[in-house]
């Protein structure tokens, strides 16, 4: 069985994978990181969003071996020493999560957006989550959470 070596949430990780494994399944089933969710299975809803070298990707259609040597960030990599990342805290404070299933993907998309554009307009925020579906919230409180996160992170001198 081939092995996949990547820098996962800041740590070097090596794991045995099947050649045809998709990144989402490796994260969930082989590495126990269940925060990345599978919803549509065809990269069309964003629930499985993780970052690869800082870019948001749909991990349910991303071949695991493609991540060889790359930096992969999942929702589990957001909190530091147990403390919520400002984006996560903003989601809590803005009452954004309802059922919560889309939320890890939304947060990862928000991170990708704010890392590249720390002061996005509302329209840019919407573009940034245009690949993430939510059935519970109507999106408004998620947009507000990202606005709040941007405000707070800018106040501290930039994205964390």
């Amino acid at each position: 069985m081939p092995t996949l070596s990547m820098i996962l949430n800041g740590q070097e990780v090596t794991v045995e994978v099947e050649p045809g494994d998709l990144l989402a399944n490796v994260l969930r089933d082989k590495l126990g990181l269940i925060g990345t969710k599978i919803s549509c299975g065809e990269g069309e809803c964003g629930s499985c969003t993780v970052l690869v070298d800082g870019l948001s990707v749909a991990s349910c259609i991303y071949p695991a071996l493609k991540a060889e040597g790359r930096e992969v960030t999942t929702i589990e990599g957001m909190a530091r020493d147990g403390e919520l990342h400002p984006i996560q805290q903003a989601f809590v404070d803005a009452t954004a999560p309802q059922c919560g299933y889309c939320i890890p993907g939304m947060i990862m998309s928000a991170k990708a957006l704010l890392d590249e554009n720390p002061r996005p307009t509302r329209e840019e925020i919407k573009e940034g989550i245009s690949g993430n579906l939510c059935r519970c919230t109507g999106y408004y409180q998620i947009i507000e959470a990202i606005e709040l996160a941007a405000e707070r992170m800018a106040g501290k001198g930039g994205a964390a």
Binding site: E42, V92, Q141
Partner: protein, 739 residues
């Protein structure tokens, strides 16, 4: 009344684990030694199963068992009537693509997947009935030949006053034919779970569900076991919207665990969810409304044909609820209504947000919009002339109970949207110029009302327990709320925690709400009918009162006990009576309590392509008491999201019972870019004296006025009525061509 915790948008109890991604949904669980199961689904919408050959599948290395109909102790179930087979055996019929033939249980998901492809099934196709209007005809193929000689299994009649006279007195009569579409819940978390035998020999299921106790009451007879030997744990639910009221995996997981005595995990992929799980009932409606020139409704005549798919599920209560609201929140003195629930071979229809009242809201509000046009009267004004007040007589002859906030919701949303009121007349706002020469603007309003709690004499009840941990001086240190209320995402656990904190005089952070585990918490009934806040909240307050009483006794007696437990059952019938439909007249006191909503859509229609964009949207909901204002706003936006999809983009397409939209990419729920550019949520509080702290419910009513508001606004913009929706660009375009 000033409150400490109530009315504050506190951090939700489940928010932290959800933003961390650590909150486990059913598919996130794994157990040592677990097996994996996959279902072999029916390939036909209507067929007799001649032969099932499992030999090849069973021979595949890693396959542990192929469960067939013969392995099921009692091979039937159903949320109300047991008309569904768990597994379809040889010589039995499949009635839709959601029927199951066998379940393959294997060492890995991969092997199970491979094995299910090796199961060979021989079918004898039967004639498919795919239109309920055809299914009602005497010579139509019967979906359930064992149940009777008609596909119609429920007929509700309302005969109120003298409708012929009412129509004779009308100056204007609007007659329309409507067809509402099949739509899908699209909860983001696909159905999944694990079944196992726990250390007390109980058949246990970890899954998402809306009514665990009811699941047990279907699983127990299926396995021919006492209810106490079945257990269900609901760790988290990734959305439901009614779609998890019926069981999709729970009974299958129980059956697997029962058969193999090992943990068995099952996860549906999105296509399985889309093809096999329940959808919203389509309605085919003929609607006549009569009114006088000064805008008073005189009569309605309505025929509703509601499509059930292959199994009854909750089709009867859906048609009961929907019919009771079919004339809307308006005083209508004369009415003739006939509503039918009809079997077909299309996808099974089940509960979905609104439960028949959503379809009702579409038809009665489109009628009101058309009436306003026919009378050349402002749409707000026309509605104000007819809307309910406290004590108004409803369609089934009952008086509306205190707390009717519909007028307040219409007034507040209309004023927010720019309407002006002058001496009882309402004047619409100026919409400003369209953003391009080929676009036209339109604005429209719609109202809706929804029952809170179960209806028609149903003994709706919930039991909630509280545990108080006291410190040495008798002060409450910690509170645990023990409730079977399933949090589908709307935040009921947070609401219960807030209410407990308020009632017990403690801090919100001192209260925790237990996970739903039928072995450990009492039955709070279903998370549906927008009932959880009202009914579980009332039960909780009763339990808190009792707990405080017990605590006082302990202090007085100085026993030194530090744990207080109390449980209280609240019955809806104890505060308000409801009665079933009279078989001939349809008269009844249908519901305990009601929630009210009004919404306004400002749209721009592209006259060349037919595309509709929603520029602004106002949603006003009367919730009695907003326990958590931001959560109410979230329900408002979420309900509107479903309504936007219903109105404009969502179509579940079938041909002769075969699903054509089988992937999420085929079925368009609104993305963030499809939502109204500006959204205003207005919360109105007209208390229900029987509700906990005056609260009603909110979960469903926020989706009722959305589609009619948008589709009426399209008419306001380009002058076409869309009676069969979604109002996709192409439908609007055709309507404009035909004008």
């Amino acid at each position: 009344m000033s409150t400490r915790v109530l009315g504050k948008s506190v951090p939700k109890k489940d928010a932290a684990t959800k933003v961390r991604g650590s909150r486990k949904f059913p598919q996130d669980f794994d157990m040592d030694g677990q097996l994996h199961a996959k279902v072999v689904w029916s390939e036909y919408a209507h067929a007799r199963v001649l032969k099932i050959d499992t030999a090849q599948a069973e021979a595949l290395p890693g396959v542990v068992k192929v469960i067939t109909a013969g392995d099921v102790p009692v091979n039937e179930y159903g949320i109300i009537i047991p008309d569904q087979p768990v597994l379809v055996g040889e010589r039995d019929k499949v009635r839709g693509l959601g029927d199951r033939i066998v379940i393959v249980v294997a060492e890995s998901e991969k092997v199970a997947e491979e094995a299910r492809r090796l199961v060979q099934v021989e079918y004898e196709p039967l004639p498919v009935v795919s239109d309920p209007r055809e299914a009602m005809k005497p010579d139509a193929p019967l979906v359930h030949d064992e149940l009777g000689d008609s596909n119609v299994f429920r007929h509700i009649k309302i005969r109120k006053g003298d409708w012929e006279k009412g129509f004779a007195e009308a100056d204007v009569v609007v007659e329309s034919y409507y067809a509402t579409p099949y739509v899908e819940h699209v909860y983001m978390q696909p159905d999944a779970g694990i079944g196992y035998i726990d250390d007390q020999d109980r058949v246990t299921v970890i899954s998402s569900a809306q009514w665990p106790d009811h699941d047990l009451r279907q699983i127990a007879p299926m396995l021919d076991l006492p209810k106490e030997q079945i257990r269900e744990i609901v760790p988290a639910i990734g959305g439901a919207f009614g779609g998890r009221e019926d069981m999709h995996v729970q009974h299958l997981l129980a059956l697997c665990a029962y058969c193999v005595r090992r943990p068995v995990k099952m996860v549906f992929d999105r296509s399985e969810v889309m093809i096999t799980t329940g959808k919203r009932h389509p309605w085919y409606v003929k609607y006549r409304t009569g009114a006088t020139n000064d805008g008073k409704l005189t009569a309605v005549e309505i025929e509703i044909i509601s499509e059930s798919g292959g199994y009854a599920s909750t089709s009867a209560p859906v048609i009961e609820a929907g019919t009771s609201f079919s004339a809307g929140p308006y005083v209508v003195p004369n009415a003739k209504v006939d509503a039918y629930a009809v079997y077909t071979n299309n996808a099974v229809t089940m509960a979905m947000r609104g439960f028949g009242t959503t379809q009702s809201a579409f038809i009665y509000e489109m009628q009101m919009s058309k009436l306003a046009e026919a009378l050349d009267m402002d749409p707000v004004e026309l509605r104000m002339k007819n809307l309910f007040r406290d004590g108004s007589i409803g369609l089934t002859g009952h008086a509306m109970p205190q707390g009717v906030g519909i007028r307040e919701t219409l007034r507040e949303s209309a004023v927010a949207a720019g309407w002006k009121e002058k001496q009882g007349h309402w004047i619409r706002p100026d919409l400003g110029p369209a953003s391009a020469p080929h676009k036209q603007r339109g604005i429209a309003v719609a109202c809706g009302l929804k029952n809170v709690g179960y209806s028609f004499g149903s003994d709706d009840r919930a039991t909630v327990g509280v545990e108080l941990a006291l410190d040495y001086s008798g002060e409450i240190e910690r509170v645990t709320v023990l409730s079977g209320a399933c949090d589908v995402g709307m935040g009921v656990q947070t609401v219960l925690a807030q209410m407990a904190a308020e009632a017990l005089g403690v801090e919100y952070k001192q209260v925790r709400v237990s996970m739903v585990d039928t072995a450990k918490v009492p039955d709070s009934g279903s998370c549906s009918a927008s009932r959880m806040v009202w009914i579980s909240g009332n039960a909780l307050l009763g339990a808190c009162q009792e707990a405080l009483g017990k605590r006082d006794e302990i202090l007085m007696a100085e026993t030194g006990e530090t744990l207080v437990r109390a449980e209280h059952q609240f019955r809806g019938l104890s505060v308000r009576e409801t009665t079933p439909y009279d078989l001939e007249t349809g008269m009844s006191v249908p519901h305990f309590s009601y929630g009210y909503a009004s919404q306004i859509a400002l749209v721009e229609v592209d006259t060349e392509t037919g595309e509709t964009e929603i520029l602004k949207f106002w949603a006003a909901q009367d919730v009695g008491k907003a326990v958590h204002p931001e959560m109410v706003r979230g329900q408002s936006a979420g309900g509107v999201h479903m309504g936007v999809g219903y109105a404009l983009t969502e179509e579940y397409i079938q041909q002769e019972g075969m699903a054509k939209t089988t992937h999420l990419s085929d079925y368009c729920i609104p993305t963030v870019m499809d939502m109204p550019r500006e959204f205003f949520s207005i919360t109105v509080e007209v208390p229900d004296p029987t509700g906990p702290f005056g609260a009603k419910g909110v979960g469903e009513m926020t989706t009722l006025p959305t589609a009619p508001a948008i589709i009426s606004a399209i008419h306001d913009a380009v002058g076409v009525w869309i009676d069969e929706f979604p109002a996709t660009a192409e439908r609007v375009w055709w309507a404009m061509q035909k004008k």
